[in-house]
Symmetry: C2
Subunit: 225 residues, 2 copies
DNA sequence: CGAACAATTCGGTGCGGGCCGAAACAAGAC
DNA sequence: GTCTTGTTTCGGCCCGCACCGAATTGTTCG
């Protein structure tokens, strides 16, 4: 061994397809029960239980009891970032079945990544805000100037006032381009749900665009879906 | 399986202690041969060879032939970032032997992380530049203003001219705080080697501070080692 | 040329761990 | 109380793979 952190130990936790699948399911920040995660990962509840307790033991997940249910969620945002980071260097997976292709397409289309919007829609939205001069691109993220803040306020998003606001970005693993992260990313996603332009799927990170959303996104952001 | 990227496959590559050790050895950006990596990871050359070809096959490493040697290095900076990201959520490893403790201490002290300075020294340097008003802290990294650019130029570092320069940072896994990354990070580290304030160790990411370096760092940056 | 060294391929061994089903345990619902 | 459902624990099976040593290929040096 070399340093003093055990990378291999964490990686081993992520190296199992079942655990990876569970973590991906949890990666929109919501909480799920043992049975739900077992079903989505296609293993027996007993198997899922063992995996989940290992993940909790390692500090990757947090668990909350509610009656006879246990709700599992990511312990901290850093976990999500590590997962995204792994996804960004992972080989594209070969798609065999039609339904898998369908699921993959939906995820590419629009998904939630720790409370902010990712996928094609997330990237397009970021592009549009840049093009409209609301966000400015820098080496390490976006910047919002005064006029951008005014626009956001008019759109229904209030942020703490500041002369310049620095907005972190994420590299999107499906598009391999940037989308808006941080508190502004979360606020934007929230507002789009609130306006009913977007709807969540029940048990997936995928996001559906409503017909109202389609119209508005095309009209106000030039995003044609 | 869920999405369309196979996180588990990449994670499995990092999940083996031997491969993880090799990647950590390579994580300062230098290139090493099969035998060197075998020795540092304490396995037979045949074993090392198999691991290395798997890593190359997955696109994590690049290999270059030079005579009867094969030089392996990280294929791209993104690999390094994934490793650091894993290290940041990894449990602190228990240290058993004295020599392991020594190695750990040296790594914490100062090390190279993909061409820029990390560890206690890297973090202290970042702090000092912020305190001196050369770097300014934002939500997503540092900013250099005009006067900062002038200071850097006087220190022997020329960067492309710009009104504001945005400098990415990394979260340091040993200190759990930020240090300077990106091209400025690399330029700073280079300059410190050039000034002979720092010296590289032969086969490790660790960095040694020369006696001249100790004096100068204390005097010009208030860093007492 | 042959000797020395770097690197890879191959065969065989052994251990770790993921999986399930059955059973135990826990917490409502009736 | 009993019945149902969610969750965990345990026993046992089996596959994958990290490891080494020996043999093989390739390269440099004398």
């Amino acid at each position: 061994m070399f340093g003093d952190t055990d990378i291999a130990a964490v990686a081993a936790l992520l190296a199992d397809p079942t655990r990876a699948s569970m973590l991906l399911t949890l990666s929109d920040g919501r909480a799920f029960t043992t049975t739900e995660l077992a079903k989505s990962a296609k293993v027996a509840p007993s198997t899922a239980s063992e995996h989940l307790s290992r993940l909790v033991g390692a500090g990757l997940l947090a668990v909350e009891r509610q009656g006879r249910h246990r709700y599992y969620r990511l312990a901290e945002p850093a976990i999500m970032e590590t997962i995204e980071s792994l996804a960004s260097i992972a080989p594209r997976q070969k798609i065999h079945t039609l339904s898998a292709a369908e699921r993959a397409k939906v995820l590419h289309y629009a998904r939630i990544c720790y409370h902010h919007l990712a996928g094609m829609l997330g990237v397009s939205l970021a592009d549009s805000l840049v093009e409209q001069g609301i966000l400015h691109v820098t080496d390490a993220g976006y910047v919002v100037e005064k006029d951008g803040l005014a626009w956001l306020q008019a759109f229904g998003i209030t942020l703490r006032q500041a002369e310049r606001l620095y907005v972190p970005w994420h590299i999107d693993w499906s598009e391999r381009r940037h989308h808006i992260a941080g508190s502004l990313g979360a606020a934007l996603a929230n507002r789009l749900f609130q306006l009913r332009w977007l709807e969540r799927h029940a048990a997936s990170r995928a996001v559906r665009v409503t017909s109202e959303g389609k119209t508005q996104l095309a009209h106000r952001f030039g995003i044609h879906l």
